[in-house]
Amino acid sequence: MTSQSNVLYIDLGRKSFYIKDRTELFNKWLGGIGVALQLYKEEAVKSANPLDSGNVIVLAIGPITSFYPLASKVVAVFKSPLTGNYGESHAGGRSATAIRSAGYGAIVIKGVSDRPIYLVISEKGVQFRDAATIWGMRSTFTVGRVLREASPEAGLRTIIRIGRAGENLVRYACVVSETYRHFGRMGLGAVFGSKKLKALIIYGKSSIRMPKIKIYRDTYDEVYKLAVKSDLMKKYHELGTSMNVSPINALGALPTRNLSEGKFDWAEQISGENLAAKKLGRRVACSHCPVACIHLATIREPYPDEPYFYKTTFISYDYELLYSLGSMLGISDINGLLKLIDEVEVLGLDAISTGVVLAWATEAYKKGMVKLNDLLVDLDWGKAEAYREAVNFIVDQPNEFYKTLAMGVDYASKIYGGQEFALSFGGNEMPGYHTGPAAYIGYLIGSRHSHLDAAGYSIDQKMKNLSPQEMVDKLIEEESWRQILSSLVVCYFARGIYEPRIVKKTLSTLGYELDDEKLKELGKRIYEEKQALKASQGFKPDELRVPERIFEVPTFHGLIDKNYIKIALDYYSQIFNTIIKKNSILS
């Protein structure tokens, strides 16, 4: 039996741990992001730099994790080395169910180890194991293989690890879970690296006896049927997120060659349809998700030095990767694109940031701001092989230029110039939606400066003629509701299923009685807590930089109006300041 509100506290410096029941915290904040935020605030040293020992990593699951399908994500909170401010990232794989089975609701990782280590976490606590042998290993795939052999309970565990990008503190290094899922954005991999933490293996055999089994089973069946029989998950089920390439391109919203255009002439080549027809080799799923949106392409390559000798590689692709490492770099050759995606996976980089950084570097090179002896390789749109070399340079950092590039595009463009076409917002490289003002205002004001905060791209596609104020209100309303989804913690792809009715119903079977009003209020409260945390870490809305480039390329709404963005940001700034004032009075 297991308590769902046990928090595991780990100190990497002392190689010690303890477990504490935090029922009061879970009762108040539900779980997931709600709880993770509070744990972060309790444990992090306020003034700590992201790569200092005072930064902490909090991983949390939610009240319905393992109870219901599609609650298959773990939320991570940390200070981002990319933005220097609030960091949050979500990952699937088997991580969420493994943390539940190990008997924890959240895990807090503090301090720095004196040598490379990895942790084996179970109901029994934590083993601190020497990672000297796997530190510096070329591929995250190999690290996974080694750790699979070295740890128990196949099928009941998660193996979360960083690649060399994280070890070398690339500010947008990711953390890989089960090979193909990631805590992708905002540089959690570098925080792991700074702590000399190579990997976490989490497993457990805890079960929970369900008191009201009949109503639980009925509610489960309702969610399950919505997931597999309705159209709500169809797009993820069939072509996966890559099905977005064609429609987004048709709208002129697919950032191409560093957003010099919104249409990619070869979009059909890198579309979900074409990849499925020519390359799709297997589909896999996160634990407790019947959708299986993870699409793996296969490429078969001959060895040049040996006749009739081939290797076959499985490569996971999604919309964001096809944009950032495809259209954004002008790459239309599918094999070249897939091999580039594979290299990024092997090294453990965030694919979105990597693509945007390289797109900026290419344009800066073409404009003469960066020289060939900086780049070391002749980067040009569409040259996949050259980009493969460049991603290795980002990780190895053989010269000043690549050291700078490893800090992110915002930083690099401050040093080398070209800020007007350095596509980052709040310090985070942009995702693949040039859909209109809502997308960009969303990147700017979202807590993690991501399309995931409030899906502005969707507002752009569904609504017209909103005033800047209405737009900001809409985005904040959506972001506030998403705090509930992230507290549960469900996959955002299932947001159509986890509407308030289903959220209340599932929670009610677990003893939480929350009405619409209370849910809304809690979502808003968590949103405000995040803004307050961002403010305490130095975030100022007035300092947000908007790259000129986004105003030069038409969207399907026409050119984006600068003044519209300015009014929206001013309005958001007022809201932000009100929240901060209210919060400082409360605390």
């Binding site: 039996m1 539940r100 090979t179 079960s207 006896r209 369900m210 597999v228 407790h288």
Partner: protein, 134 residues
């Protein structure tokens, strides 16, 4: 009698809904009380192995039991009498495909009864039910 079978493990996406279903059938949430198991074949990139009881008609697990806690089920496989089981784990070792699982919390084996509850939660038709003459 019915028997749980694997129709095609190549179709398995590794979602483990069958395992959750098996635990839920007996009133539990989790994976370790499941009488079947899904694990990767050396990483997600290689696909998955699904381990289920094959319903042997002459079950080695039964023959290994020193206390007669297992008896042959009609249609193959075994049924456990927990009151006789002493938790020696011989049955677990006797099953070459690893389909006798272990419940650490009660120190008894978990063995499939071929009820087919899991089949309804496999969205990819990896699992099926087969009729077998007694």
């Amino acid at each position: 009698m019915k028997r749980l079978v694997i129709t095609d493990s190549e179709r398995c996406v590794g979602c483990q809904l069958c395992m959750f279903a098996c635990s839920r059938r007996i009133g539990f949430l989790g994976l370790d009380k499941s009488a079947l198991k899904v694990k990767s074949v050396g990483g997600f990139e290689r696909g998955f192995t699904v381990v289920v009881c094959r319903a042997c008609t002459d079950p080695p697990c039964l023959r290994s039991c020193p206390v007669g806690a297992l008896r042959v089920r009609d249609g193959g496989g075994v049924l456990l009498d927990p009151s006789k089981c002493i938790g020696c784990r011989f049955c677990e070792k006797a099953c070459d495909i690893g389909a006798v699982f272990w419940d650490d919390s009660i120190n008894k084996p978990v063995i499939c009864v071929h009820c087919g509850y899991c089949v309804d939660y496999c969205n990819f038709r990896v699992l099926g039910i087969e009729e077998r003459a007694n």
